[in-house]
């Protein structure tokens, strides 16, 4: 992945046949995946404006082409231990869920993988530190286990701000 330039995701050839495209990224030493169509772009973190009176996982807001976009610390939200302090590779994945833009703050972006649906296993063998409902499935790529996260569930679960969102 190029280091300096922000990446605009081109999704012309997504989901061919039974193949689904996943954007994989790193949180600490673990690999995670997200359906590519949910992601809009990947940027290097700009200065994030802190928003007071919000939950801890809300890092603040950034300006994405005139739109005020909240940034979520995914590790904080998922309850992962934060060891990686190296800021160089950190990225923000901008996702769009039903018109609501949210930025996910992650350690590094890996690659886009086309995975056949039958390669994806539902079970995680309880090996994961994540809650069951946050996981859509797992697959193996280059001997690495990639966990596909259920981003809607993560962002809009009860501990989140889902109620306010529904109100508006």
């Amino acid at each position: 992945m190029p280091e300096n330039n922000d990446i605009y995701l081109d999704k012309k050839e997504k989901n061919i046949g039974n193949l689904n495209q996943y954007l994989t990224f790193k949180l600490e030493e673990e690999y995670y995946g997200l359906q590519l169509e949910k992601a809009k772009e990947i940027i290097k973190p700009p200065k994030i404006t802190n928003v007071p009176n919000t939950p801890k996982h809300v890092m603040g807001v950034i300006n994405i082409r005139g739109k005020v976009t909240p940034v979520i610390d995914l590790k904080e939200k998922l309850g992962l231990v934060k060891k990686n302090k190296n800021k160089d590779n950190k990225k923000i994945i901008i996702i769009n869920i039903d018109g609501i833009m949210v930025g996910l703050y992650i350690d590094d972006v890996r690659e886009v993988l086309s995975i056949n649906t039958d390669q994806i296993e539902k079970s995680t063998d309880g090996n994961q530190s994540l809650e069951e409902e946050y996981i859509k499935g797992v697959f193996t790529s280059n001997d690495n286990l990639v966990v596909i996260i259920n981003i809607e569930e993560i962002l809009f679960d009860n501990n989140s701000l889902s109620e306010e969102v529904k109100d508006t």
Partner: protein
């Protein structure tokens, strides 16, 4: 049928206007049954509404408005006296019209069972009907001459015809005479146009298409200039086949086009006709109807422009040209902003107009006598704010009538005038619009209110003891508090004062209440002139830049720590004999203060803000500069964040939050 949507929108906009005119006129008529002007305006509105519905082929609505028009006609001709019964009947009719229009909006049809109402109307009219209405005759006078007279053309039009005409074309003057008694003149005329357009090029017509759509069409002759290569006979046949077309006259005017003396005379004559007609019916104004969405888009774009201008300024390039252009750019942007803001402004009267009717119905229902006064109808406010104000004001007025004003007997006992007074006013104060709802009713029972708040555990006894009278009154805006125990069917729609407050706040406004027992209640709403762009003071709190809207600020000052006094354990300053509580902005924003208390600082920057109707001193780290900011929502994902009303984008492209000081105290 793609045009249809556009027409529908027009139809909705205009029918709403007419409904308002009708309601207004009936109210006036009730107070002034002899006023012929009002009767005439009622008749015209019903007539126009009928014309529009007929064009749109809403038959039920057409019939309803037609009957109402007939009733008004009888009133106009003194065949029926205006009684309360008639007024109620008319109001009922308007309600039906409103219902039907609503239904058309939802499913596009006007299927509505009106039989009962129409029968009632019919019966009422029979009582008054002795002679057959002969109003048709008036219109028909001189008709023969008018029917045969062809359209007149000016020089320019003649030249245009020559340009549009192809080699084999002939220029015809066609007059299609419609059956005098037709119910659907507008529809028939539109059909004539449609047919004519198929035959050839419809160059000009009297009335023109717009006049027909707006029902400015009184004669039953449609006159056209038609350029076509069809022979005369075919044209007569096609047009003659249209229902209710009784006669088609056609003249080849090519020869006449060359010698024009005669038509000039006709033109003069026709012109007079037209002028008489239009001035007697409507005032033609040179306005354009624009959808609010388009204006919103325009405003957004100006917002973007403004942000980019601010960013450009921040670059601060050291060049002559740059320094020349910036002030120019500044001026143009400001003017553009100002102009669009002006366009979005509308007199608040358009919304106030619905209330007299409502108050009348409510007071009748609850058997109260109420003098309802509206002031400041002309006060202008951003259209999008006006749209949002309808429901909260409805609620406040309902409250005033329902819970405020007492019944006449009770009032008499209290030594008050039997007739209660409810006043609705709007006026501008600085950069804010103030709306007041005032009544001289029973006032709010504070004891009852606080007892309830305690009961519902909204406040603790200790908190209550610390509250002053004013603060206690504001409790009424807390959710779940309504002072009357029984909920009446009038104001008990499940909307409480908390919803009113929430709506006002979402408009970036504020609301507070004053009330004296037995003297009445006064509710004051303050609103920004416009939503999208505001002047703000930028301040630094901790390490972040925040914007505080200027309209919330009364002044800024620097104080020394020794000026801080203590009252009941709270820090205050005394400013011009007023005690003003101090608040550390970092605490309101949950920023960890640590040991670094402001008291230890040598000098402090204080912004005096208006919060919940009171002045509060907000201590910030640094006063930066004043700037116009474009208000953006903080993101749907975050929802409502305490003490933050939105965000804006500042010079370096970063986001700065807008501080909501209204509840910070």
């Amino acid at each position: 049928m793609s045009d249809n949507n556009e027409y529908l929108e027009m139809f909705f906009a205009e029918s709403e206007e007419y409904i308002m005119v009708l309601n207004d006129a009936i109210l006036k008529l009730e107070n002034n049954p002899e006023d012929k002007e009002v009767v005439a305006s009622l008749f015209r509105a019903a007539h126009s509404l009928k014309g529009m519905s007929a064009t749109m082929r809403f038959d039920v609505l057409t019939e309803l408005t037609h009957k109402i028009e007939n009733l008004m006609d009888q009133v106009r001709n003194n065949k029926i006296d205006v009684t309360t019964e008639i007024i109620d009947l008319l109001f009922e009719g308007i309600d039906y019209i409103e219902e039907i229009v609503k239904q058309i909006k939802t499913d596009g049809t006007d299927n509505f069972n009106l039989e009962e109402y129409l029968n009632k109307l019919e019966n009422k009219m029979k009582q008054g009907k002795e002679q057959k209405v002969i109003s048709n005759e008036e219109i028909n006078y001189d008709l023969d001459e008018f029917e045969s007279e062809i359209i007149s053309l000016n020089e320019e039009e003649k030249n245009n015809i020559a340009e549009n005409k192809k080699e084999l074309d002939t220029v015809y003057a066609v007059n299609a005479v419609l059956y005098n008694g037709t119910e659907f003149k507008q529809v028939r005329a539109s059909m004539v146009f449609k047919e004519a357009k198929e035959i050839g090029y419809l160059f000009k017509s009297v009335p023109d298409i717009r006049e027909i759509e707006e029902a400015k069409f009184e004669n039953n002759v449609v006159k056209m200039i038609l350029i076509s290569n069809e022979p005369k006979e075919n044209i007569i046949n096609s047009l003659g086949n249209i229902t209710d077309v009784v006669e088609v006259n056609i003249t080849d005017i090519e020869i006449e086009l060359n010698k024009n003396k005669k038509t000039d005379e006709n033109k003069e004559k026709n012109k007079k006709n037209n002028i008489n007609k239009s001035t007697s019916k409507f005032e033609v104004s040179s306005t354009v109807r624009v959808g609010i969405k388009k204006l919103d888009k325009l405003m957004n774009m100006i917002g973007e422009l403004l942000i980019n201008k601010t960013r450009l300024e921040a670059l601060n390039i050291d060049s002559e040209g740059f320094k020349d252009i910036l002030p120019q750019l500044d001026r143009v942007t400001m003017e553009l902003h100002h102009t669009v803001m002006q366009i979005r402004m509308e007199p608040i009267g358009v919304m106030f107009n619905r209330f007299p009717r409502m108050v009348r119905d409510l007071s009748k229902e609850s058997q109260k006598e109420i003098d309802f006064i509206i002031k400041g109808k002309d006060t202008e406010l951003d259209r999008s704010i006006i749209d949002e104000l309808g429901d909260p004001l409805t609620h406040l007025l309902r409250n005033a009538v329902d819970h405020g004003i007492e019944k006449p007997k009770v009032r008499a006992k209290k030594g008050k005038d039997k007739t209660g007074r409810v006043e609705l006013m709007a006026y501008q104060k600085g950069s804010e619009i103030i709306i007041e709802v005032e009544d001289d009713g029973a006032g709010i029972n504070i004891e009852k209110l606080t007892a309830k708040a305690l009961d519902k555990e909204l406040i603790t006894q200790k908190e209550l003891e610390e509250m002053d009278r004013e603060k206690k009154l504001q409790l009424i805006f807390e959710p779940g508090l309504s002072t009357t125990d029984e909920v009446s069917n009038v104001s008990g729609r499940g909307v409480g004062m908390d919803v009113v407050k929430r709506t006002i706040k979402s408009l970036d406004g504020d609301i507070y209440i004053n009330s004296e027992k037995e003297e009445g209640t006064n509710i004051i709403i303050s609103l920004p002139l416009t939503l999208a762009i505001q002047d703000a003071l930028m301040v630094k709190i901790d390490q972040e830049v925040f914007a505080i809207p200027l309209n919330a600020i009364s002044e800024t000052l620097k104080i020394k720590s020794k000026e801080i006094k203590q009252v009941k354990g709270n820090d205050v300053i005394v400013l011009r004999d007023e005690t003003i509580p101090l608040i550390d902005s970092r605490k309101s924003l949950n920023i960890e203060v640590g040991d670094n208390n402001y008291i230890e600082r040598e000098e402090m920057s204080v912004v005096i803000v208006k919060s919940s109707g009171k002045e509060v001193g907000l201590i910030v780290n640094q006063l930066l500069y004043q700037q116009e900011i474009v208000i953006k929502s903080l993101s749907d994902y975050l929802g409502n964040v305490k003490n933050i009303s939105g965000a804006t984008i500042i010079g370096d492209g970063e986001v700065a939050l807008i501080l909501d000081v209204r509840d910070i105290a």
